[in-house]
């Protein structure tokens, strides 16, 4: 036992290198999937949740980008009758109206109804959801950032930029929520009625209507229906995602192949470093051998800490990728890590046997 403790004290520097190398090896093995996840996952999440978005005639990409991701300006407005039509269409399970165009200190103000909060999982933390025109809810992180709480007054402005023309009616914060999607964490939510009163519009309108259909195949049956609706454009997030994937997939595949080559180089480096530790321990091993200790006892006393730290490094890499990027572990990658570890152990063992 004493040797084991001594080893920790004596080899602090090399042990730190071992754990960092193990961590890096773990990261690089998972890099290809992490990359793909990073580029496509965010889009995939939302594309899987919303089947169709109906907006004013224009580019489907613009409609998806503005409604789902708030990246673009909306194409225009559609009347309330459009919302009523789609809400009662037999292929539609759920229809949620969305009004966009204003901002609060540069953060988009989204006018929608209570179905949105269920759809995108935004449970209430404090207060309540908006019930009257002029009431606003906001994600807990954004609330902290803007230093607002329930009861605070806010001023909204036209456009996506806080320098736009300001509205004279202040908005009141009535609730703090916990949003799931990143884009929802950076937005404020109110009722569509707020938009109508802020803009003094006699005719009630929306920017778009998001639809969840009764089946995924129903999407393909709606093409005729949408084509026959005047001034309406149907945008299908899954198709936009498909186009995006088609554009990105070759790059991801190429990057994936390179990632594997780099991962392989890091694995070799890692194995080389671990086996090089053997030479540094030559004297300790010789000393223990003179004391007639068994080979496995010597192995565990001298290299046990190295193996333990390797294991910790791998687990930490798994954990980091899972928590930070959200990539779930897969068997294939765990097997590669296990293989790396076994190779390192066997090489050390063979060297010990030969000495």
């Amino acid at each position: 036992m004493k040797v084991w403790i001594l080893q920790w004290k004596r080899k602090a520097a090399s042990l730190i290198i071992v754990s960092i190398l193990a961590f890096l090896t773990g990261l690089f093995i998972k890099a290809p999937r992490a990359l793909e996840h990073y580029i496509l996952k965010q889009w995939e999440e939302s594309a899987a949740q919303v089947d169709v978005i109906i907006g004013y005639k224009g580019s489907p990409i613009q409609i998806v980008a503005s409604t789902l991701y708030r990246l673009e300006n909306p194409t225009g407005n559609i009347p309330e009758s459009s919302y009523s039509f789609w809400r009662s269409h037999p292929l539609v399970e759920l229809a949620t109206p969305v009004a966009l165009g204003d901002n609060v200190e540069g953060h988009p103000l989204v006018g929608t109804d209570s179905t949105y909060y269920q759809w995108f999982q935004m449970p209430l933390k404090i207060g309540r959801y908006p019930e009257n025109s002029g009431e606003v809810i906001v994600d807990v992180d954004l609330a902290n950032q803007l230093e607002i709480k329930v009861g605070s007054s806010l001023i909204s402005a036209h456009g996506s930029d806080s320098r736009g023309e300001s509205h004279d009616h202040p908005l009141t914060v009535v609730g703090i929520v916990e949003a799931s999607r990143n884009v929802d964490k950076a937005a404020l939510f109110t009722l569509p009625q707020t938009y109508w009163s802020l803009h003094h519009s006699a005719e009630h309108s929306y920017t778009s209507v998001m639809l969840k259909l009764k089946s995924k195949s129903a999407m393909l049956m709606l093409s005729n229906v949408i084509n026959n609706r005047a001034n309406e454009q149907g945008a299908f997030p899954v198709f936009i995602f498909g186009q995006l994937q088609k554009q990105w997939q070759p790059t991801i595949d190429l990057a994936g192949r390179w990632s594997w080559i780099i991962a392989f180089a890091v694995i070799l480096l890692f194995i080389a470093y671990i086996t090089s530790l053997f030479n540094a321990e030559r004297n300790t091993i010789a000393f223990l051998q003179n004391h007639r200790r068994s080979r496995s006892w010597i192995f565990i006393q001298v290299f046990g800490n190295v193996l333990l730290l390797t294991f910790v490094g791998f687990v930490f890499a798994e954990w980091a990728i899972k928590v930070v990027i959200g990539v779930q572990p897969v068997l294939q990658e765990i097997l590669v890590m296990l293989f790396t570890l076994i190779t390192a152990v066997s090489l050390l063992w063979i060297k010990l046997k030969k000495s």
């Binding site: 899987a48 995924k216 195949s217 393909l220 149907g234 994937q245």
Partner: protein
């Protein structure tokens, strides 16, 4: 020698279709349909299609994703990039695919040849008119 060759060709020629799959065209699948008062579609399957019912068929077309998460795809007569929603597409120009092995990375608009069991959907208004069960890539 020549006789043997002819006989062989004939045997293969006769037996070929009997073993194998029937190649179907999109024109064959473009069945008439009506719209119900609620706005749903109801297909009519002509009797000359009966010989294809629940048979193994081969069909070629373009892959259209319908659910990225569940990796669900449909096969379309028209490519998405050549304007799927501009007018040509209709409920009878797409079929549902149920893969026996869930495929990974399929690319939108990829032109593929699919083999599978052709099922007529006569009752469920929320699914497409034709469903290819046990679908797999052919050739």
């Amino acid at each position: 020698m020549r006789a043997i060759l002819w006989v062989t060709i004939m045997i293969v020629g006769i037996q070929g279709p009997a073993w194998g799959q029937k190649v179907v065209s999109w024109d064959l699948l473009a069945v008439p349909y009506s719209t119900t008062p609620e706005g749903l579609y109801s297909p009519e399957f002509p009797s000359w299609l009966d010989s294809y019912k629940n048979q193994e068929v081969v069909l070629q077309g373009y892959l259209v994703p319908v659910d990225v998460k569940a990796k669900q795809y449909a096969l379309s007569r028209y490519a998405f990039s050549s304007c799927f929603f501009c007018g040509n597409a209709a409920p009878n120009t797409v079929v549902e695919l149920i893969f026996s092995d869930q495929p990974h990375h399929l690319v939108t608009d990829q032109f593929v040849v699919i083999k599978g069991i052709l099922v007529f959907n006569e009752s469920d208004p929320y699914r497409l008119f034709f469903i290819i069960q046990q679908a797999s890539f052919h050739g």
